[in-house]
């Protein structure tokens, strides 16, 4: 069985880290639509790609990945919204895990939204 000791070790490591930050430090919020429409279209692997990718890219201190219900544009699911302080919201549509990796690299890390995956590009 996965040991309780390992969990205790995580606790030790995390407690030092947690005390240094609070949620106000998150300057970017990535929100994945997880209602029936999103889940049926493949939102779960998209969410996981963001959770894993943000951690791998070392962005956990300033990017928070969260879930929400139906955003209201079911035909474009999986939908991901990126909120950044003092910037306009970016809505990505018809997402998958591969596209999520690109968004992490180019947008969350690089600072430039991936225009071709946004709703603006999809509705042209």
């Amino acid at each position: 069985m996965k040991s309780i000791e390992e969990l205790m070790a995580i606790k030790e490591r995390m407690q030092n880290k947690v005390s240094l930050r609070n949620s106000a430090d998150d300057d970017i919020r990535v929100v994945v639509g997880m209602a029936t429409c999103g889940i049926a279209a493949g939102a779960r692997p998209v969410l996981n790609a963001f959770v894993e990718g943000v951690n791998e890219a070392g962005l956990s201190d300033r990017v928070m990945v969260t879930q929400t219900g139906c955003i209201g544009i079911c035909q474009y699911e999986p939908v991901v919204e990126v909120y950044e302080k003092d910037k306009e919201k970016v809505t990505y549509v018809k997402m998958n895990a591969e596209k999520a990796k690109e968004v992490i690299e180019r947008h969350l890390k690089g600072g430039t939204p991936v225009a071709e995956y946004t709703i603006g590009a999809a509705t042209k």
Partner: protein, 185 residues
Amino acid sequence: MEEFSLYVLDITMNSVRAGADKIDVTLDDRDGILTFTVADNGCGMTKEQLRRLTDPFFTTRKTRGVGLGVPFLKMLAEQTGGDVRVTSVTAEESPENHGTTLTATFGSDHIDFIPMGDLADTFVTLIQGNPDVDFTFTHRVRNGEVRLSCPELRQILGEGVPLSSFEVLEWIRKYLAEGYAELEK
């Protein structure tokens, strides 16, 4: 939806949206009958909401006019020889003891049943999005069970470490994978 684990995710999200902070998810898969139960302490549903629960053109949400979660589940249950039952007590009816329990049965050997899919992924996803909810997951099969209790994890980790921390989620994923590997033996 092509994996049963996605139905589990979708239906359990209903409990989250009902404001529940305690949600027990149980899968009991023995002798060809799969029983899936979600019991929550959320706001509950009125008699009228319960009556229209399997009507796809009824929903309480404002963002769209259709609600397919329970109708999808019911369709899968019925095409494999099972059914869906829901009981509910609203907060108005009982301020102390309200909530909803959904029980769905399926013929898990039935030709129209679908692959179970990645249940660990479903559980991790639920915890990631709702780290403060007291989830308990139990998956019983013929030769044993896999179980995960968020209140127990929280007790070990203490207040300062959210269950949605990446390292904790990874631990949970591995813990569940080991549990499932043990059942395969």
